[in-house]
Amino acid sequence: MADLSVNICGIESPNPFWLASAPPTNTGAQIVRAFDAGWGGAVWKTLGDPIENVYSRYSSVDMNGQRMMGFSNIELITDRSLEINLIEIAEVKRRYPENVVVVSLMVDSNPDAWDTIIKQVEQAGADAIELNFGCPHGMSERGMGSAVGQVPEYTCDITGWAKESATVPVFVKLTPNITDIRVAARAAKTGGADAVSLINTINSITGVDLDSFTPRPVVGRMSSHGGYSGPAVKPIGLNMVASIAADPFTEGLPISGIGGIATWQDVAEYILLGATTIQVCTAVMHYGYRIVEGMAEGLSNYLDSKGMASVNELRGLSVNKVVDWQDLDVNYIVKAEIDQDKCIHCGLCYIACYDGAHQAIGVEYKDDETKVWIIDDLCVGCNLCSLVCPVQGCIEMVERDHGQTHMSWNDYLSDEKPGELYPRPKHGLTIGPT
């Protein structure tokens, strides 16, 4: 069994699995159940001036019969009094001293408001605080949440105020609703942040009711833009985490990765791209706290299979495998190969390539079957056929050793080209005047 414990800016956590600040961390009773299930830490649902929510708050995007591929919410921060939240924080820490309790905070943009609430949650026993600069709905219109996160100066300033008040580490939760996440992360670091958490939810409309014409979620006869989460957003979260991990300015800044995490593979991917802990919300809202069991078991088995004694060995191994496009090897050549014995003759690779890519698959109806084959000279190795093929291992992308030297696009443009560009198949004139 690999060691799953991690240390993030001085905080020991029994494992990297934390719950994100959200409905699953709304009450002490919930967090107690989560810790019993195996979650290493929890970020308490954002405290501040308690709000009132609207009725109907969530909506989802289903895909081909799968529920909640994407999920949206317009729920605000806690609607419970600060007093009972503080009592519960203290009780949870008393019962679970080994588990991490981070408390998410959001108050008006003045130093006194931050100072007051930070002192109160520290007093209650919080291991760290997380500044909610990410919430994209409701609170942002009141000048909080993403309204702060979208302005680097505000992020920097308020982080600075929090750091002046806090004795525990300060996490800054970043909004993805900006152009370049690195700018926000740099601002947080400049303000003194001990760590960043990302991504918060993405501004979204999940759909429109085609009978009432009201977008979802429906509140009366209206809707509002919500925060998008769930499996659909994972690629966006991974990219943002990776770009902060790779940015020279923020290199080494601990990251708590968030966005579409539901399985141990998701966790491993976030850690490979630089996260130390990860946070989960939507998957728990779908399946409950129990999913952490499979995450812990799966991650541990994976680490064992890689001969790693600790999850810390995994961290960041993929960060420098993300480079700019012009640094990719343009002489790396792969071509698709179809295993005819595995082919079930669905024709999907053919039509995908023919209409959607590069017309490099041949087709013939023969002996009662749709037969397909790769037209090697035309194949550009794009992967599409292997992506649409429903049969595991039927279409493989196979590397071609053609003797050309490794060469990036930058190399190719330079005066001292290391070699020749391997020739690409190109379509000539495809239509013209007759």
Binding site: I344, C346, I351, T370
Partner: protein, 443 residues
């Protein structure tokens, strides 16, 4: 629940499997890979765009889905139930190659079409109906071939009259399908759907008996013959006149009429084809004590479909292979079927084994040894020829030798599936339409 288990679960095994509910259909529809040049569509005699209609179900466009099906096959609702999908669309499904259960296409098709076919929607918003022409077509036989031909002609704007000898229209869909595949009420409701397109049906009107051929010719510019096959001929056995000996198709028609109870009876069905397998299964499911299928050859030579054989076995039918009937015993009514054993001779010919006779104590004997061709019926029509097998000779457009007459369905192919008859009727309708519009048909 697949067709088999759904059927078994249906009350008494007599009712067809339940139709899918919406969630069930959605889950199943989402399993479809949406093959390109899909093998299911290629396997369908009416070339229904199967992935297309399934995608429409998945995308909550049931009207579009029904239209996709019914444009290709106007009897899509009954074909969804009576087609041997196991050897057609579902048999061709690529998921079989993934060692997965194929898409339940038959039941999805029923789900997509039921609301439209059995509802009271406006069919003329469902289909584009051509401008009314002054052409008038007579269709003989209101079975699947005739209904298909008539419906397509009506959609093209022509006036159509269907003549049918039976009391009720629908042909084998009404009288000859096993109840556990489709009940009679469903078949009749589908006929109503076709009449809703403007087709007139004259039931109880046999050509040559109630209306003569000359009248047919004077009333119509073109004729389509979709008269199917005749009854199962007598076997020429001693005792065949006894009570309890019957044509298996008549037995199935009786069961469809309702109220048949064979409790305490023992039944022998002679034959190895689709009618035989339906008759034994049906007999077992209306309470017969023992049901025997008596067939002169082995299992591999049976023409019945494997899935139907499996259903018969699951219904408790006992298969007696390599046996043929010698005579029927009884006083007034049947008490036994006397059989003899058969075998292949060394040169492959079926021979009787000498002194192998044995008695099978039964109270009913049903003939399912193949329907007779209605060769003499076609003598009424000048230029309509039959081949040596008794099938009406047609060209690729289903035209007979008489330029006013087309034919299709069982009387042309010798007895196949409903879906084949539908395909014939539709193709003939297109040909008739072309002929009428070009002036090539008619007087």
């Amino acid at each position: 629940m697949n067709r088999m288990t759904a059927a078994a679960a249906a009350q008494g095994g007599l009712a067809p499997p339940p139709t899918m509910n919406h969630d069930e259909a959605l889950i199943e529809a989402h399993r479809c890979l949406m093959c390109w040049d899909a093998p299911c569509t290629r396997a369908c005699p009416t070339t229904i765009d199967v992935p297309g209609f399934i995608k429409q179900i998945a995308n909550h466009d049931l009207i579009g889905s029904a239209r996709t099906i019914l444009e290709s096959n106007i009897l899509g609702a009954s074909c969804a139930r009576v087609c041997p999908t196991e050897v057609l669309c579902e048999g061709a499904c690529v998921l079989n190659g993934l060692h997965e259960r194929p898409i339940d296409i038959g039941r999805l098709q029923a789900f997509a079409t039921d609301d439209v076919v059995f509802g009271d929607g406006d069919l003329f918003t469902l289909f584009t109906v051509g401008e009314r022409t002054r052409h008038n077509v007579g269709v003989v036989g209101a079975g699947p071939a005739g209904l298909s031909c008539g419906a397509e002609l009506a959609k093209l704007g022509h006036s159509v009259v269907l003549y049918d000898a039976n009391d009720q229209p629908g042909g084998l869909n009404t009288y000859g399908v096993a109840t556990y595949k489709m009940d009679q009420a469903t078949a009749l409701r589908e006929v109503e759907f076709v009449t809703g397109l403007g087709v007139e049906i004259r039931s109880g009107t046999a050509v040559g008996r109630d209306v003569d051929v000359g009248e047919l010719f004077s009333s119509h510019e073109a004729i389509f013959l979709g008269v199917g096959l005749g009854s199962v001929p007598l076997l020429g056995l001693e005792g065949e006149e006894l009570d309890g000996v019957a044509d298996a198709l008549d037995f199935i028609a009786d069961v469809r009429g309702g109220g048949v109870d064979l409790t305490g009876e023992s039944v022998a069905v002679i034959g190895g084809g689709n009618t035989a397998i339906d008759a034994v299964t049906q007999a077992a499911r209306v309470g017969a004590e023992r049901v025997y299928l008596v067939y002169r050859r082995g299992r591999d030579e049976m023409k019945a479909y494997p899935h139907d054989i499996e259903r018969a076995l699951m219904s408790g039918v006992e298969f007696i292979h390599w046996s043929a009937p010698a005579s029927i015993e009884g006083e007034g009514s049947v008490s036994a079927l006397v059989c003899y054993r058969t075998d292949h001779s060394t040169d492959g010919v079926l021979v009787a084994i000498p002194e192998s006779e044995y008695r099978l104590p039964v109270t009913m004997v049903l003939r399912a040894t193949g329907q007779a061709k209605r060769v003499s019926f076609f003598d009424q029509f000048d230029g309509v020829a039959t081949d040596r097998g008794g099938r009406v000779v047609v060209d690729e457009e289903f035209r007979t030798g008489n330029q006013m007459i087309w034919a299709g369905g069982d009387c042309v192919n010798g007895g196949k599936e409903v879906v084949n008859a539908v395909a014939h009727g539709k193709a003939a309708a297109m040909s008739i339409d072309r002929a009428l519009r070009s002036g090539a048909a008619g007087k």
